[in-house]
Each structure stands twice: as structure tokens, then as C-alpha cells.
């Protein structure tokens, strides 16, 4: 079965094996093929993510969007290598990211959901140094200073993270991930529970990072974040993943005259 599903997409099979046409003439760097995750819970199969394929190009911010339990975090964890997929492959520049050796894996920086990213006994600078060390990096100090400055963390750089607010702790996590100079940046709900000022500063940094030509994937429920930073929206619904275009395209198509992304998104979920 083959039908046109919108600009740039073709649905190849009924079970949402989607192929994103690479219209950008950029060589795709991260290629996901037939990726799925099924859990066996008390003898029952629980499908977290149905098989999907897509290519992700660098220099754009991909936003994974969808209701709770739709499979966004599972997908992010599969991309990180923290959850093994049931089927499928993830390749980076043609090299296997799941089964390949550590040398072939791209440098991956991640801000995971919740307060699970930094050692709260260490200071901001010590955290950055520690995680860069774990990634085998040295000579990262100028980058660390740059990101601390950009995220407004300079005055806290010698403060133990346990004394920082939730928002500043999240900024530290982002500073650690960015200082790695990662080829792949994965952010799982980076603005969750943050006040508008801190959330916006995180958005601005993510937006600014587009020029670094890295793979950036963000899961979020924050519609302002999407409006400000997202280039491509990937909708998760009932374990099915579907690239649906840019925020502007979605507003134009589903907004019913309302310019707000939240209205268009709600309409899209209900449809």
C-alpha cells in the first residue's frame, strides 16, 4: 500500500513504516531503519514504539511531540543506547550505533528527563570537567566557559549543584551536554517544570546551536519551545511515529485560522 501523506513523506506500509524524503540535499547523518520497542510485561507484549524509519539531518532541531506514554522517551533512550530496540538499526554516517564498537559511535550528549544528569555533590565546573573526562575529552575549558556564560551559570560555577535551583540544575545538565561538543544532542523534556525565563534561555541556546551542524532531537510538551526552536516536528501517537512538517506548516494546516501552535497541535491530536 502506498499513498501520499503530505509534502515529503510516503507511507510504505500500513504499520507506519515511514520514509522521510531527504529534500535538503544534505547527506543524512543519522539513519533509523525499522526501529521498534516491545516490552514483555507479565507475559503480555506492550508495544512502546511501533516500527518506524527516518533520516535525521544535522543543523536542524527535531522535536518529538506527543501525549504521555506515546514512546518519545523510549525512542530517545534507544538513540542514546540506554534501551535496546526490539527491531531495527540506527546508523550514524553509515556506522552501526547499536552493535558497533565504541569508536564508531558518535559523541552523544544527552539531557535526560528529570534530575538524573548531574552529580549534585560537585560544582557546576567540576560536573562539566567530570563528564568531559568520562567522554575522554581534554582541552574543553574554553567551551565550558563559553556555555556557562551563555547559560548564565558563570556566577555559580564554583557552587555545588545541590544548592542550585531546579532550573539552574537543568542548565548545568545542558552545559555538560553541549561542552562535550557532541555530534548528537538528545534532550528529553529540557524545559519541564522550569519558569519561563529559564525555559526561554534554554530554548535560545538550543536555537543558537543549530549553526553547529549537529543532530539535535528534543522531546517536549512545551509549545513555545516548538514555535521558537523546532525545524521538524515528529508526532508520536499510540506508539506510531510520524514526521508532520515544520511548526508553520502544522499551524497553516490544522490551526483553523488560529496562529497558535498549541491549537493546531490539539486539533492534530484529536483528528
Amino acid at each position: 500500500m502506498r499513498r501520499k501523506a503530505g509534502a515529503g513523506f510516503v507511507v510504505i506500509a500500513e504499520h507506519a513504516v515511514l520514509v522521510r524524503f531527504n529534500t535538503q540535499k544534505t547527506k543524512p547523518m543519522l539513519s533509523i531503519q525499522n526501529l521498534s520497542k516491545t516490552y514483555n510485561v507479565n507475559g503480555q507484549c506492550l508495544v512502546a514504539v511501533k516500527p518506524f524509519s527516518m533520516d535525521i539531518v544535522p543543523g536542524k532541531v527535531y522535536c518529538f511531540l506527543g501525549p504521555n506514554g506515546a514512546g518519545k522517551t523510549t525512542t530517545i533512550k534507544m538513540l542514546c543506547g540506554l534501551v535496546s530496540p526490539t527491531t531495527g538499526t540506527i546508523t550514524y554516517n553509515g556506522r552501526d550505533m547499536i552493535g558497533g564498537s565504541w569508536i564508531s559511535r558518535p559523541k552523544t550528549g544527552a539531557v535526560l528527563e528529570g534530575a538524573r544528569n548531574i552529580n549534585w555533590r560537585l560544582t557546576v565546573l567540576e560536573n562539566i570537567n567530570y563528564f568531559c573526562g568520562l567522554h575522554g575529552l581534554s582541552g574543553h575549558k574554553p567551551r565550558a566557559e563559553q556555555y556557562m556564560r551563555r547559560l548564565g551559570l558563570e556566577e555559580y560555577k564554583n557552587t555545588e549543584c545541590r544548592y542550585l535551583s531546579r532550573g539552574n540544575q537543568q542548565k548545568v545538565a545542558l552545559a555538560c551536554a553541549l561542552t562535550l561538543d557532541a555530534e548528537v544532542l538528545l534532550l528529553d523534556e529540557p524545559t519541564l517544570g522550569l519558569d519561563i525565563e529559564i525555559a526561554r534561555s534554554i530554548m535560545e541556546v538550543v536555537n543558537h546551536e543549530k549553526s553547529k551542524n549537529r543532530i539535535t532531537i528534543v522531546t517536549t510538551h512545551d509549545t513555545e519551545f516548538i514555535e521558537l526552536a523546532a525545524d521538524e516536528i515528529v508526532l508520536f501517537k499510540n506508539g506510531i511515529l510520524k514526521p508532520i512538517g515544520t511548526p508553520q506548516e502544522i499551524v497553516a494546516k490544522h490551526g483553523n485560522g488560529d496562529n497558535r501552535f498549541s491549537t493546531a497541535y490539539l486539533q492534530l491530536l484529536r483528528s
Binding site: K37, Y39, A48, T74, K77, C80, G81, L82, V83, S84, W102, I103, R105, K107, T108, G109, A110, L112, G114, A115, R116, N117, I118, N119, W120, R121, L122, E126, N129, Y130, F131, C132, G133, L134, H135, G136, L137, S138, E160, C176
Partner: protein, 261 residues
């Protein structure tokens, strides 16, 4: 970046963060050192009190056995505990998943963290044992190089056991009581006669403790075959422990239970 460079950088990161945290939580460190020291002093004072009716030669051997026994038990504790407690600590502070994102995985991170703790513990013991003996006016000669060499083997073997226990922690999450039970098994393994070679020689830490007793306490020499066997056995248990951990990690990733503590 090659494996050696990455390994050195991970060791540096672990060592520096270990030093920072030791300095930051100095009270805990100071209490730990005092604990070690008082144990050593009270072992010697206790033996003096109990041993007043026995010959000097017998008392001396007994005291050396106890001191080296305590030292061996502590090194085993460092080897096992540093891996298991580090895993639980990383889970409690919430950075377990982040450490797993390091390019070489979590095993080198845990290994170098354990190595840091071993180096610190060894240096402390090498300072505290002579000092405690000086205080209690009790002396015996120790070949320091042999002590360090066989301690490394003992640590390597117990590190393997630590990785195997951590494998269980990855899957079953709360395993503190099980780990406490293992202490009794370790105490048993320390006293079972594993020299000369018999079936007990196959168990972890036993031949390493036996060789430490023979060489350090009784000043006897052991053959190259036995030393070679102990080196290989230590390496084998370390590799087996790491393999068990990697299998558990793979299982946890498959089940999606890696970070749930």
C-alpha cells in the same frame, strides 16, 4: 581518540572527582582513616592482652596473621565495595545513565573509580600499619613490594566479584542485604585451605589470601607456578565479573530497566 587515551582520561576524571569529594567530605574521610587506625591498634592491644600467657614467638605470628588478615579483608572490601557502592551511589545521585553514555560504557568508569579507591586504601594502610605498630611497640618485617603485588591480585579478584554483584544490582535493584550476606562467604573463602592446590584454590580471593599469608606472615617462598596460577586466576575472575556485568547490562537495556532505582 584511542582506547588508551580514553582510559587515561576516564581515570583522571575519576581520580580528580574522587579527590574533590574526599576533600569536600573530609569528616567522613578522617573518620574512615581513624577507624582503620583504631582497628589496627586494638587488634594489637587485644592480642597482647590475650597472648600474655603464650610464648613470644607464637604471639608474634598470631598478631601478624591478624593484621594481614584484616588488611586482606579490607582490600577485598575495597575491591568489592567500591564497585557495588559506586553503582548504587551513581544510581542514587542520578547519574548512572549519564555515566553509561560515556563512549566506552560504564565498566571502565566503575573500574577506574575502584582503582582510585584501591590506590588510596593501599597508601593509607602502608602508612597506618607501621605507625600503629610503632605505637604498640610491635614490629615485624614486611616485603613491601610483595605486599603491594599480591594486594593488587587480591583486589583484582575481589573487583571481579564486585562486578558480578553489581550485575545483580542492575537487574534486581535492591540487593544491599544480599551483598551483606556475601561478607560471610568472603570470610569463609579467606580461611579455607587453598594452598597447596586443591578444589578450594579455584574460588575467588582464597589463593590470593593464602599467598599473602605465606609470603608476608610466614616469610615462605612460593613457586613460580603458584604465582602464575594466582595471577591468571585473579585475571580470570576479573574478566568473568566484567562479563557478568555486561550480560546484565544488556539484559537491563533490553528490559528498559537500566535507570530505575
Amino acid at each position: 581518540m584511542n582506547a588508551v587515551t580514553a582510559g587515561i582520561n576516564i581515570f583522571k576524571a575519576e581520580f580528580i572527582s574522587g579527590l574533590i569529594l574526599t576533600k569536600r567530605y573530609w569528616l567522613n574521610m578522617a573518620a574512615g582513616i581513624l577507624n582503620m587506625f583504631l582497628f589496627l591498634v586494638f587488634i594489637q592491644l587485644g592480642i597482647r592482652s590475650f597472648g600474655s600467657g603464650v610464648s613470644a614467638e607464637f604471639m608474634s605470628v598470631k598478631m601478624e596473621t591478624l593484621i594481614i588478615g584484616f588488611f586482606s579483608f579490607s582490600i577485598i572490601g575495597v575491591g568489592m565495595g567500591s564497585v557495588t557502592s559506586r553503582l548504587s551511589d551513581n544510581a542514587a545521585t542520578g547519574i548512572l545513565e549519564q555515566t553509561m553514555l560515556s563512549p566506552m560504557g560504564v565498566v571502565p568508569v566503575l573500574f577506574f573509580g575502584a582503582l582510585t579507591q584501591f590506590v588510596v586504601a593501599l597508601v593509607l594502610y602502608l602508612l597506618l600499619i607501621p605507625f600503629s605498630m610503632l605505637l604498640c611497640s610491635h614490629f615485624f618485617t614486611v616485603n613491601i613490594l610483595s605486599l603491594i603485588f599480591f594486594s593488587i591480585l587480591l583486589w583484582l579478584s575481589s573487583c571481579g566479584v564486585g562486578f558480578a554483584l553489581s550485575a545483580l544490582t542492575l537487574i534486581y535493584k535492591k540487593t544491599q542485604n544480599f551483598n551483606n550476606l556475601i561478607q560471610f562467604l568472603i570470610l569463609t573463602l579467606m580461611v579455607i585451605p587453598s594452598y597447596p592446590f586443591n578444589v578450594f584454590s579455584l574460588s575467588p580471593v582464597s589463593p590470593q589470601v593464602a599467598i599473602l599469608n605465606k609470603v608476608i606472615v610466614y616469610h615462605q617462598s612460593v613457586g613460580y607456578k603458584w604465582i602464575t596460577y594466582t595471577i591468571l586466576q585473579s585475571g580470570a575472575y576479573f574478566i568473568l565479573g566484567c562479563a557478568a556485568f555486561l550480560v546484565a547490562e544488556k539484559y537491563a537495556k533490553k528490559k528498559g530497566i537500566l535507570g530505575q532505582y
